[in-house]
Symmetry: C2
Subunit: 217 residues, 2 copies
DNA sequence: CTCTGTGAAAATGTTCACAGCG
DNA sequence: CGCTGTGAACATTTTCACAGAG
């Protein structure tokens, strides 16, 4: 209905699958596959075909009946929806093992995300460089985030510092936070937080594995 | 109804919140808080009170009306449900930056998870040690997983090797996999997979942040 | 009188099944 | 025909609201 940019309320569940479709479609691109059916895309993305069709229908009717979806065109549409047609400047706070791994993570740069600032509370780390970016103290977060116009912050600090860091990031103008610290963050409504908690994931897994010899589901 | 061990079908959504409640409750324990209301627990866990009560009701009726929940007792009940009253022996495959970070991750050892084997395809890494555990080649996965009776595998390899590694882990007897590789894994029905994809999380965040100046939700 | 436990309502998400476009 | 797009059925999850236990 609205065609061009991004309205049409896309359900959260759909949004969270779009990056998955995107990745699958990019694989098709590499293999020079020009067109895919919902069936084929679904099997690569690990979901079912009805879901793919329903999800894609929220972006508009871009498929061709009897044929499928044009891979290249659909890639562009999804990238557009996800806001991947622009660059994202991110800050990473907390440079322990995980933080360092994130700085070097290829998956970020490959997309349109670039790490533009690093912060750590440890004075011994401040001033050192990782990947050409100098680590600053956490007291510099607000100013640097504002000056460099960063819009996303990644928190990989210990739980105890996470809320403080989050507030500084928000104060600096960040509107999205990816939180790896095992802590619940309180932020203003206009800021979006997503959390990734490794130990929680393992515990969930433990639940299902201990329902031993499969309790199905 | 069944009281003791773990039946009563607990909804997936609830299961994924139990570790969160557990963490919150452990904080209360440290602060020597003996009893919490659903309201208080909810606020620490970052959810709402109705959800806490509904979730906990699936474990049985362990609260006291007019008072709340006994922290220590509830901790034990949840740990029991999650299978955290036993030790979990895990293998990690793929020792790039992320894999190394995982080996050193405190959050694992703190719970009942212990890293008992490490695998990497890179011959230069094989034979070296991290945290006292020797890295083995991926061809050793099946045997070692079986010999050491490991039940959970963590995959932090590049996407291209993930499926192969998964098959070896499963062949060795693992029944739960935590997958950090940006790839969809195909495994037998009795094996549970949970995936954590950093770049997908960032892309989801980008969607909501680019619905700039908040499209709400 | 407070706070749990829970039916019932509302919202969200998934699957089915098929009309109809290309 | 084959495959999309989508209403409608079904399933799961969340929220409401309140009876009643302590």
């Amino acid at each position: 209905m609205d065609s061009t940019t991004g309205f049409r309320h896309i359900p959260e569940a759909t949004v969270s699958r779009l990056p998955l479709y995107l990745r699958s479609l990019l694989e098709f691109t590499e293999q020079r596959v020009a067109t895919v059916s919902s069936e084929r895309l679904a099997s690569v993305a690990g979901v079912n075909a009805a879901k793919v069709r329903k999800d894609l229908s929220y972006l508009g009717s871009y498929g061709t009946r009897g044929v499928g979806y044009d891979v290249e065109y659909l890639v562009r549409r999804i990238q557009e929806q996800l806001g991947l047609d622009q660059d994202w400047r991110v800050a990473i706070a907390g440079l322990g093992n995980l933080g360092r791994a994130l700085v070097n993570y290829r998956g970020f740069g490959e997309r349109r995300f670039s790490v533009e600032a690093l912060f750590d509370a440890d004075a011994a780390k401040v001033g050192t460089e990782i990947n050409g970016v100098v680590i600053q103290g956490t007291e510099d977060i607000e100013r640097t985030v504002r000056e460099r116009d960063l819009s996303i912050g990644i928190i990989a600090t210990p739980a105890g510092s996470a809320q403080d860091v989050a507030e500084r990031l928000v104060e600096g103008g960040v509107t999205g936070i990816l939180n790896f610290a095992p802590a619940v963050l309180t932020v203003p409504d206009h800021v979006r937080v997503r959390k990734v908690d490794l130990s929680i994931e393992l515990q969930i897994l433990a639940f299902y594995v201990s329902g031993t010899v499969t309790e199905d589901v």
